[in-house]
Symmetry: C2
Subunit: 71 residues, 2 copies
Amino acid sequence: MKVKLGERLKELRARDNISQAKLAEQIGIDNAMIAHVERGKSLVSIPVLILLAKIFNVSTDYLLGLKDTRD
Amino acid sequence: MKVKLGERLKELRARDNISQAKLAEQIGIDNAMIAHVERGKSLVSIPVLILLAKIFNVSTDYLLGLKDTRD
């Protein structure tokens, strides 16, 4: 099963024009971790997933690539 | 932030009449882990979250308590 979190995150960051550094700061995780997630090398914890959904105002299903509509 | 995964899991297991043991077997994790999650003592990994959503045919947002509708 391919989890699309990385691509979705990259796309939403671009949409909202937020740098990896800025996002890392908002979430309280390391810059390098964001880059790693966006390259599909890591997933995140559930609390971080929920935080990302709130920051970008999308569903967790969208973030994970389970749905193609954002809400 | 209160993550409702435990209560949602318990409710869905009851709905579908699936034992903790049976669910644990389906997911490939330990029985005790399911009990722990249902008591709100642990979360799960993203791959397990996705698997649970598929097994119970609900959204991850519902499982996490971010939405009150199941789809």
